[in-house]
């Protein structure tokens, strides 16, 4: 347990030192503020508009950016040390392989969560100050839900990155695989779902199966968590329309999200235990 803490603290500090954490926090804050300020520009008005509409846009945005960041900060956590030549040294220390992966995983998740809290937190405070009518309990609840789900989404992609990191032999391959993972989860998966929708044409079979297909991608689960609480009318009619026939319970969605963290994490542990160094 102590070793896990020591390792995660080092990874967390490395992320801080490499300016990853601060860059991500600034990115989130700037994106959140500009979306909330300029989000209504198409409708001819500039300035802070509906808080829920801002969250909906942020959800779409985070669904693209957070997986990429999660993969980028963590893809080299084991293979990077192997390339560097430090892995052999660390493994000769009195720590188990499970502790090494767990420590690194927790350190990167911590850094990502800190960046999320700092970035979006700052943005929310500014929005709340500038826009008195957004100071409602609901707004805070939705924001809390959003930040929590972003953190879990980040953790899930850090876990996927750790699988990539232990199964590849060199850093370049791991980087390639991380990008492929991002492409598949962010773009290709949803394209395939759309294709299924078009081909099946709304048959009964499709209506009963389709809602569950969304569980197969953590990003879609993340979207569901946020958009289903915001409800329709927030500019998400397309996505909500696809799932209108099914009611998702929040705890089911969070359970699915947690599985998307736990299963890749377990897989990474399993693969690393069998890895030859």
């Amino acid at each position: 347990m102590r070793s896990i803490l020591i390792i995660s603290r080092k990874e967390f500090r490395d992320d801080l030192r490499n300016r990853w954490t601060i860059a991500v926090a600034v990115l989130f804050a700037v994106l959140a503020l500009s979306i909330s300020y300029f989000g209504g520009a198409a409708a001819g008005k500039i300035g802070f508009t509906s808080f829920d509409a801002t969250l909906a846009s942020l959800t779409t945005l985070a669904a693209f950016v957070v997986p990429l960041i999660g993969l980028l900060i963590a893809y080299d956590m084991v293979v990077g040390e192997q390339d560097n030549g430090t892995l052999l040294l660390v493994l000769s220390y009195p720590i188990s392989r499970a502790e090494l992966v767990a420590g690194k995983f927790l350190g990167h998740c911590g850094a990502l969560t800190a960046a999320t809290l700092a970035g979006f937190g700052l943005a929310v405070v500014i929005i709340q100050v500038m826009q008195p009518e957004a100071r409602t309990a609901d707004a805070w609840l939705h924001m809390g839900n959003f930040v929590l789900s972003v953190s879990v989404l980040g953790a899930s992609f850090v876990a996927l990155a750790s699988v990539i990191s232990v199964m590849t032999g060199d850093k370049a391959r791991a980087a390639g695989l991380a990008l492929v993972t991002w492409l598949v989860t962010v773009i290709l998966f949803d394209l395939c779902l759309l294709a299924v929708l078009v081909v099946s044409g709304g048959s009964r079979w499709e209506q009963s199966v389709f809602p569950y297909l969304l569980y197969l991608n953590p990003i879609d689960v993340f979207r569901l968590i946020n958009l289903s609480t915001l409800g329709s009318g927030s500019g998400n009619e397309l996505f909500m329309g696809m799932t209108a026939t099914h009611i998702y319970r929040p705890w089911e969605l969070y359970l699915a999200m947690s599985l998307w963290v736990a299963v890749p994490f377990g897989l990474a542990q399993f693969l690393f235990r069998r890895k030859e160094v």
């Binding site: 020591i6 490395d14 560097n84 030549g85 040294l89 660390v90 000769s92 009195p94 030859e276």
Partner: protein
């Protein structure tokens, strides 16, 4: 007292290629043991097996009375210090940050981390980033971390590769101190000549098999390799006359390009021969060379495998 390391018919195969086969050896406590062999002889594989970083395909290793991949593997690793071949560290951290991090992982006191940096002569550079360190400084840092938590067994894999003579000497001084403190040390190297004065005994590997094991004296006796007396004649004396004298005594000799004679010492005949030579007025200078580890190594045929050889495991 148990041995520091016991190795029993140990074998390791990588994708069908044997990196080690049927190695049997033991390393007593409190000794400095050299692990010798050419590149690819299986030195690093053997070290990884001893550290429990990989599992053997056959055979057994017992380190400090425990199995390196058994239940107590984690606590066993606290009692072992390891300097990997061409050690690397986190370039973005400073020397003192790295050693403190590693001390935490090994549950060694933080003050010891600072003391060890001083001991290996890195006190002045402890607040510089590792990326600015020279090869020798990294190697010193590697030695410092290997001594964290005062391990009973210290394993040094090619510790002097890329070091200048001064740094090499300092490294072996520390190895000597470790022996004096009662640590067991396993040093691998292919620079045999520099290793010889510092080790108590040697394990010689060749193509994954243990070729010979024992103290330098044992190895010398095993090989029956003669010592050599190098003789320089006076400018005024006649070499042909000297050769006749040698032939009369039945001495095996060769003449070097600079006119120096190399005489082989027959077993037990060293002092008699030296007396004879010392009284010879034709001789200007005499140098005695015992069979060195490097010559032993060549003699034992570390380069190529001869067919039909028996492995030392089966012999013992």
């Amino acid at each position: 007292m148990t041995n520091a390391i016991d190795i029993a018919s140990l074998g390791k195969r990588y994708k069908g290629v044997a990196a080690l086969a049927g190695v049997c050896a033991s390393v007593p406590m409190g000794r400095v043991i050299g692990l010798l062999g050419h590149n690819g002889a299986g030195k690093s594989t053997l070290i990884k097996l001893i550290l429990g970083l990989i599992k053997p395909t056959s055979g057994q290793v017992t380190v400090l009375g425990e199995s390196p991949w058994g239940q107590n593997a984690v606590s066993l690793r606290r009692r072992i210090g390891y300097l990997p071949e061409s050690v690397a560290f986190y370039g973005n951290l400073t020397g003192s940050e790295v050693i403190r991090y590693l001390a935490g992982l090994k549950r060694a006191p933080q003050q010891q981390a600072g003391r060890l940096l001083e001991r290996v002569g890195l006190g002045h550079a402890k607040d510089r980033r590792i990326s600015t360190y020279s090869k020798g400084m990294k190697q010193r840092l590697g030695l410092a971390q290997a001594l964290l938590a005062s391990p009973e067994l210290v394993v040094l894999d090619e510790p002097t590769a890329g070091l200048d003579p001064q740094a090499t000497r300092e490294l072996y001084e520390i190895v000597g101190e470790l022996r004096a403190e009662g640590h067991s040390v396993l040093v691998s190297s292919h620079v045999l000549a520099e290793l010889e004065p510092h080790i108590d005994s040697a394990l010689i590997l060749r193509q994954g098999e243990l070729l010979a094991a024992g103290s330098i004296g044992d190895l010398r006796r095993q090989s029956g390799l003669p010592g050599i007396v190098m003789v320089q004649l006076k400018g005024s004396s006649d070499p042909a006359e000297f050769v006749r004298k040698l032939d009369a005594l039945g001495l095996v000799h060769e003449v070097r390009h600079d006119g120096q004679f190399n005489l082989q010492i027959a077993e037990g005949g060293k002092l008699a021969l030296l007396q004879q030579l010392a009284s010879d007025s034709a001789i200007d200078d005499i140098v005695v060379k015992e069979a060195s580890l490097a010559r032993l190594y060549d003699y034992l045929g570390a380069g190529a495998k001869r067919p039909g050889e028996q492995s030392p495991c089966a012999a013992s």
